[in-house]
Symmetry: D3
Subunit: 337 residues, 6 copies
């Protein structure tokens, strides 16, 4: 447990002292105009990030030997500088093992991971095709892989990404697919479900989430699509009698799920199941971006008569919160009417 979370600081009195455990995301030594060295830190916990400065490097209450990636306990006060909070650190030491939980140090899904995992497993149970069921069971039975699947974010960029994000996205997609597949009788439900569970599995290797969210070098060079295909193919090759054509289709679904060459899929969807996977994946990602942006506007105090900020996932479009706008009193919206 930690004393205070970064998100609490917005309501905190400026200048008042507090303690907290934080993950050191970056650490740089700089010099003031007057030539005095100081430390510039980026600290994080599950609720956000905070810039911090250590002005007195020689102070014995400041640890000398901490580094990027360490969890530290810091004491100090915060003040607002040009609309950004900044912490002045008075004391700082490296946290001891057991004092805090690393999972508290990075943003994390608001859902219960165990429950999400159970939902995933029940979808696997529902499969009829024994080969696909065995494939998924085998992969999820690998403890290291399963743990990574439960932890991995769905993407790198902080505002779209959190621990457990991959699993949360996949479970949402599974539920959505269960609604859509019966509408199109030509679809092989088992293939769609398998494709959803495996489409982003390469992200457990493309990304690292030890200290912030970053691409591994291997991830940059190969990409999660290739990494997911390789992981799947290796598993299949160790299964007895997995039908070769079924293997081709499963790999094709992973390969093609970005839907366009310029989005990094080397092949376009050529079977109905792959087409549907690409559509639902895209729709769900965009709807989550919209929901996230609406929440952010609420947090930032935007009114119902304002458009949102530009949304990166929607080509920098600004959106309107339908329900809030309809519910707000109609002022004279049009100039000079």
């Amino acid at each position: 447990m930690k004393d205070i979370y970064i998100s609490d600081l917005a309501q905190f009195d400026e200048g008042k002292t507090f303690d907290g455990f934080f993950l050191v995301l970056s650490k740089q030594q700089r010099t003031t105009k007057n030539g005095k060295p100081y430390l510039n830190l980026a600290l994080g916990d599950k609720t956000g990030q905070l810039e911090a400065r250590v002005w007195e490097l020689g102070d014995p209450r400041i640890a000398k030997d901490f580094d990027r990636g360490d969890i530290v306990k810091a004491r100090g006060s915060a003040s607002r500088f040009e609309d950004r909070l900044q912490m002045k650190v008075d004391q700082l030491r490296v946290a001891t093992a057991g004092e805090t939980d690393r999972m508290d140090m990075l943003p994390s899904t608001t859902y219960d991971v165990a429950s999400l995992w159970k939902q995933l497993e029940s979808f696997v149970d529902s499969l009829v095709n024994p080969h696909l069921k065995l494939l998924l069971t085998t992969m999820l039975a690998d403890p290291a892989l399963a743990e990574a699947y439960r932890e991995a974010p769905a993407a790198k960029q902080l505002h779209h990404a959190w621990l457990g994000g991959l699993l949360e996205h996949v479970v949402s997609l599974l539920a959505l697919a269960d609604r859509v597949t019966p509408h199109y009788p030509m679809l092989d439900r088992d293939l769609v479900i398998t494709g959803i569970i495996l489409h982003d599995i390469g992200k457990v290797r493309e990304l690292s989430w030890e200290i912030g969210f970053e691409y591994t070098i291997e991830g940059s060079l190969l990409g999660h699509i290739q990494m997911g295909v390789a992981l799947t193919e290796k598993t299949i090759d160790n299964l007895p009698d997995f039908p070769p054509r079924l293997k081709t289709l499963v790999l094709h679904m992973i390969l093609s799920h970005h839907g366009k060459l310029e989005f990094g899929s080397p092949k376009l969807p050529m079977i109905p199941e792959a087409l549907v996977l690409n559509f639902l994946d895209d729709l769900d990602a965009k709807m989550q971006a919209v929901a996230g942006e609406f929440e952010k506007c609420t947090r930032e105090g935007k009114g119902p008569n304002e458009l949102t900020n530009k949304v990166w996932a929607l080509d920098q479009r600004q959106l309107l919160n339908t329900k809030q706008w309809l519910a707000a009193p109609e002022k004279t919206d049009v100039a000079k009417k």
Copy 2:
């Protein structure tokens, strides 16, 4: 009733005489190498099109005064020429009123139109918002508009289009939306339903379907998006107390449903309901294109180990029929393995 349908001719003996009622889709006089004039006709009925030739223009059994758009009764025989059927016409007269039904002369939905219409009406009934319900009820209560809505194709090009196609597409979309909207609690279901019912309503003016499927001049100059917006706006302006903001949102959904400027929407979707409308419309159109292509391949006798033809609606991609390919015996698929 007509004696024979064009689709029956594939099984018909070459050279054997038959009678049939057909719509004259085009009529051109040409000359043989030897300087003899003849008629080249395109004949159609609900099952397809057929090229026909009248070699003996002076024959008294050939009517002189028929034209493009007439329904005619023709007698003759068919033969295959370079893989295409061609009819040699021996007798031809204009059909008398009542002898046949114009609805039999153009391709038409395989669903029961009355039943589709009932489904549409029950969706309207299910709306909670009284303004949107009144808007839809009012528009569908206009007999000419309702008749056109039931008749209109969804698009011009023959292989994608048939009488009742618009209604069939809308009802499929409504059912699909009813599956998807509960997955995203932020969605206003009434807006989504209204958007689906109205998004393509301008097609009843953009297209004509008297003789084949064609764009009207007005349709070419204004487009179905603008025509649908105008139709909707005029109706709303005659309703009492329709909330101005709700009007803006309904019009926005029609305007933005193509999803991209380069597809002819002058505005991109800016509310979640418009985003979902664009996705579902696109998905449903593509899935129908896939299903249609699979049927066509079956009709053409393609085997399970062949890709389809290039599909125009999917950027000229070739597709694979998942179920047939998986079910077919695995031959050695890979060269020299």
Copy 3:
């Protein structure tokens, strides 16, 4: 009347006290490094914008209750900070009604609006087609619409936009069209004139110019093209016997005047009059951008041997002022010649 205009401040002594009336464009409370709150304001008048700071919030000479959109009288001094002027406000109160004219608070056309309006009316008078003449007369006879037409800027962004900008642009286009149309006998002059007067009329609803220049929510969702079409169509539908085909052509010209789908026109120009409207509109906008940039460079003291800044309306191209460059003494322009 106001004491000093923002553009005068460039020549004003730093630190010397002055009074002025300003429109409050934005108002934000911030905190200094030392935790002291202050106000950050954006003030504007017809000659420009100015950043201002109120450091002593408790001072009784500073009004408590003013807000964004108010006109205030402020006293203080200005100094240059990193090349930008900044005002330090010592006193500030809300202006009383009648003390100043809101039209003095936003940038405005340098032409006489009454005279521009007269020119517009004389073009309407010159029309031969009675339907088009009646359409325009009717629209311009609506007092609210006419007032908005005279006030509206032609675009949102401050450096391209000013009150009366729409009218100024339209009158320039009309004069240009009167030069060009006789060169192409196939053109229907009345249609071209009508298209020019109506092409951007939707901007009176797309934009608001109460406080700075902004898009209305409705404008963002529907766009000025759709809004102009709707305004025109509603007027036409109330005129007796307006020929339907003529209506289609007028609406087509408004719809297509951006000339490309990706510029927000849902239809491309399909009649010569629409093609010419698109060309002249584009040419006139670009020539005004060039002229404005040349003036800006003169104001900023650029020499004749320098290119302009990058011009947004010309794809970020830099331009050369032909006449100045030719008139300047030829130094050795080329390295090492």
Copy 4:
């Protein structure tokens, strides 16, 4: 003089014998299914092109030694084959010198070339800047260049191109520029006029028009923009005291007149005069394409309620002839209204 022109044949009785002089545009020997050799010719004169066949190669009335590029006298008859006219040649001999005029053998401007040239010269006379005036006078005084300027087509493709086309296009542009330049006081009229006269002068070397219209090898490798710049630069370098900056601007106008890199201009317009040249050149070319298409539709017998064919110069758009459509009786244009 020649007996009959190709455009006359549309009205000519099929099978009736006629004589005519034609330019042989291509000549190929082929074989019938039965193994008999025959000649396939493309014949042209100023009014069009005609496919022709010589079936009896051994006939003494058929010359043996004629070739592509020769003018021949041919006798035979025409018939329509699949909507295209085809001539059956019974006799054919090479025309003797003086028997016919090569200028009658290719499509040619309908304007009087001498009068066009005079107009061009009077524009040159109107220049105020002595250097530009001398430059143009010098270039047009070169007899070979002037002759080529009077003869050259404006483009290669037959339906857009004719002898004298370059001159006709330039004179139209000059008249248009004289209308537009006074509207923008910042423009240097002399530069605009000079730019118009020289912008396409490289076409006299890029194209050849001896036998049909073709690119020379040099034209393909260098292009008319570079060829025109080189011609102009060489002339300037031989003039006394031509101001270097003025030279740069003239060359820049030629270089940039296509307006976009992807249209082959290596530099974009950077002075107002170059911007206007690009706009007017583009507008005039498109308006001529529209006018030409309208004439073609009239010739082909299209009705006022039909769109034109797709127009290549307008991105394959179909157009509507405003005046004819408005003048035609309004039938019920919209389906099911």
Copy 5:
């Protein structure tokens, strides 16, 4: 051995009888206008393709039971029809085993395959890095893979593709790389060589060359890039102690060798060796296209003063044969000079 090759027929007398062994590339039954069935065949051998017709289906000298993919012995005569040769088949039987060599039935490299293979092996021998050397040795030691590598074409389309084409292309690239790599000391030669040998190895599975050159279904769904990566990864995973980072780099080179996402590489080159591989592969393919086009023009009898046909691999550009053009007598190249 076969009696006559297809390329010989161009010089052969029309109508004269000949025998030959051919591969049946396609076989379709059609009907004449008069209702008589006949066979339309595409026959091929290593020198080209030939259309053939069997008119007398009932003739006992015509085998009943042959099919696409069979090698047949056919007797008949050829004639030219609209510039294309067509064979009339009088006798036809299926070839017996041993009567002919399947390798004679498809176009094939003009180089000695054994010698090319030896060159490839000597490049492998030259590697210094023991892991890369072992990887390549292991793969090329697989007899089925090695045989496929020696046989595979480099691409599907007939005019760019021949048996042995893959090997020929790789050996040319290896020699080119040996020239270029020493110029850039930062390059790891062993990685470049390995990348070249493996970059297209997936083509042995993407393509089949039993009957003509075609994509396998698996090849269409996965592509040769993915197939090559999988083949390589599986081999590496069976090697002892192959360094993981080296594996990543080898796979990255295969993945990225198309150089652009839109060309099907899911990752762009991120190491210098991958950059060079992409450049040399592209250059060598284009230079082979140029050389092939020059040869084709020579075969077709084009003169030195003519441009080539449009070359697909060079964006439909036409080329000029430098040496021939410079060597030809200079006629007056420019019109009216």
Copy 6:
């Protein structure tokens, strides 16, 4: 000689006084918050750039009359401000003639220019074609042109450009071409060599390098491609009997060397020699960008397990230094493995 170079300052003690000669790249007077004027300077020498401030304008030790483009001697101290070095100037005077060498004031090639020039000349000597040899000899014999060729940078942007950069790039290309041309026997080596030496020669006029590296106005309006063509054409026209076709090919190579219209080449490569020139030029520029980025990362202290910064010349891609990464100890690269 100068006392200290800018690159030395990184190791220099903050606050310690030093002297140095610098080129004044820019000079602006500004005011502090308190209204005190100061000078903001950009100073440069061959090793880099440095921001500098003169706080005491009235100090007699600060020269009054220096300007942009002057070489000055300055004394002061440096400190680090937000990671950037900044000099505080205490004394400053204009350097006297002879005190320092202007060549020391701008970044410059690390190669010996005389030796590069000799290599260039030996390539010219190696030509077989007497016309091309004479052309190059003549151009390089012009002393002003030769001096500019030796001095010119290859591009404007500082991090890619240095004095002698053009020559260095050309000599590298010549050596590369000598490796590649023998691989393709169809290539005319003399043409390739000539094209390489002349392809960027227009840069001596497009750029100026008196004070920093900038485009001349003429360079902006015409571009180095056109300037190089003009320079070459004028030289050729003064040579006796230069073959016209050879001239066309040489000019074509310069014109087309950017390889794409959108990169500013008005013609695409149409001969093999031009194709190869474009490829090698592009490859060499990219390989130099890679090498430069690797060096920069080493200077900046990046580790072997980090990607480089985004590289502008490679579409903002990040790269990996192969050799360093392979040599570094393999840590566990993949998250949670």
